[in-house]
Symmetry: C2
Subunit: 271 residues, 2 copies
């Protein structure tokens, strides 16, 4: 076990807060612990955003939210955690356009800010690894590759847009095992939404060899493997960007998540 794998989620958050976190992504960190996508909105959009999550739970599984103006992450998700500093980095958007990446967002946090925490598919990767199905990007020490798709979300008030998916290559013979292992993780995207060339086509994904994703890092699809696509927590970030709402919105940098104290089994259901 490497040193980074021995860190606790709290250790990682403190590294982020003290700006000493250096890994390119949080993939594979703290195996067994959940990670969260973060999006921070003015409170006036909170009701529509909650509804977006409720109507699109596979790509937008809402784990929790802060009180308006209070940057403390809910204790049910992480203790002693400040959402303004505890992600490795943040993407700042203005009027839907990316402005800059920052390591902390004390200046951007406002009295009416609400931070939402969305489940992350990294959360089922320990379960996959335990079954000999370690995702390729973990083996390569990279962020998972992510794609914009043409799969339309069910709109909710001002929010709409399209699903983002993460991709992991697997042999077709392993597909049903991958589906079965990920199925219980209903709060972290669960089983795949599509797979193989037909799945890519239905999603409108043309990067069939995994070398040119829209977010995250390129991966390697080996001979005999197919692309397997999962709902991705970057979806709500893109939905917010595409919604045309004006003003400033902050999200975590894709692939660089907030580490939570809850464990993967806490986001599972029994079957």
């Amino acid at each position: 076990m490497s040193i980074s794998q021995a860190l606790t989620p709290h250790d990682v958050r403190i590294q982020c807060r003290t700006k000493t976190f250096t890994a390119p992504s949080t993939a594979g960190l703290c195996p067994g612990y959940s990670q969260a996508n973060v999006i921070i909105l003015p409170n006036k959009f909170a009701a529509d955003f909650r509804l977006l999550c409720a109507r699109n739970p596979v790509s937008c599984p809402l784990l929790g939210e802060t009180k308006p103006g209070n940057p403390q992450v809910p204790k049910a998700l992480a203790t002693d955690s400040d959402v303004r500093s505890d992600c490795p980095s943040y993407n700042i958007y203005r009027d839907g356009v990316f402005v800059q990446q920052k390591e902390s967002i004390e200046k951007e946090w406002r009295d009416d800010s609400v931070a939402f925490f969305i489940g992350c598919s990294y959360s089922f990767e320990a379960a996959l690894a335990k079954n000999g199905l370690t995702p390729r990007h973990v083996q390569l020490g990279r962020a998972v590759p992510m794609y914009k798709t043409k799969y339309r979300l069910c709109p909710a008030g001002v929010f709409g847009g399209h699903m983002v998916v993460s991709m992991r290559p697997y042999r077709l013979a392993d597909l049903e095992r991958v589906r079965n292992i990920t199925r219980p993780f209903v709060k972290t995207h669960g089983e795949p939404v599509a797979w193989g060339p037909e799945g890519a086509k239905s999603l409108g994904i043309t990067d069939l060899d995994g070398t040119n994703p829209d977010f995250g890092d390129p991966t390697e699809i080996q001979d005999g493997e197919i692309a397997v696509y999962f709902g991705c927590g970057v979806t709500p970030q893109l939905s917010v960007m595409d919604s045309g709402i004006s003003g400033e919105v902050v999200g975590h940098t894709p692939g660089r998540m907030l580490m939570l104290d809850i464990k993967d089994e806490d986001v599972c259901v029994s079957f």
Copy 2:
């Protein structure tokens, strides 16, 4: 108020049970009361079906289910109701193929049968009517027109397939009011999923004048109106048909629902 509108949901269920129900559909019956789509499966598929509903709540909002082998509708939904007789009619499918329509299904109900109750968009029609937006098919005394779409569901175990939508024509100027009125009905499909020619295109619907729906009755789209599409509880029925599971499956006949004792406000959330 016509005589049929003065009936209670229990009255309608008794009419169905005694085979004296004669209306073509349950649209517009018992204003303010909810109605349910019904699908009856062998228990071995129940877990996958619940997950299909959880992953696709806009088209498959699960209101409740029976105990395996017990045909009593949960009291929380309807008192003194037997799912084998209390819908106006049922569609019987074998190996995914429609076999026949029946008025009761005592013979088809088995020891391992589980009936699932799915929210129905008829449930928000009273709210629309109250705001001067009575759906056209209610004005015409018909079932709502429904369409198969190319919108893929998030698969869940053995189940997958595509969303079915119901369609109501409205003037573009009324669209935001229609969205706002239907939004709170989160357990009965809620706000529209798409609208207008672009919406039809994204769903793969080519019947732009409403005269040739896949289920239900034709409607009339008047000058200046656009088609507005809502998630539809026939979706899970079609998903089950398309799943390739073998054996017998029973659903209500589209447009001819189970009348519930719960009221529309019981399936609403506050905003």
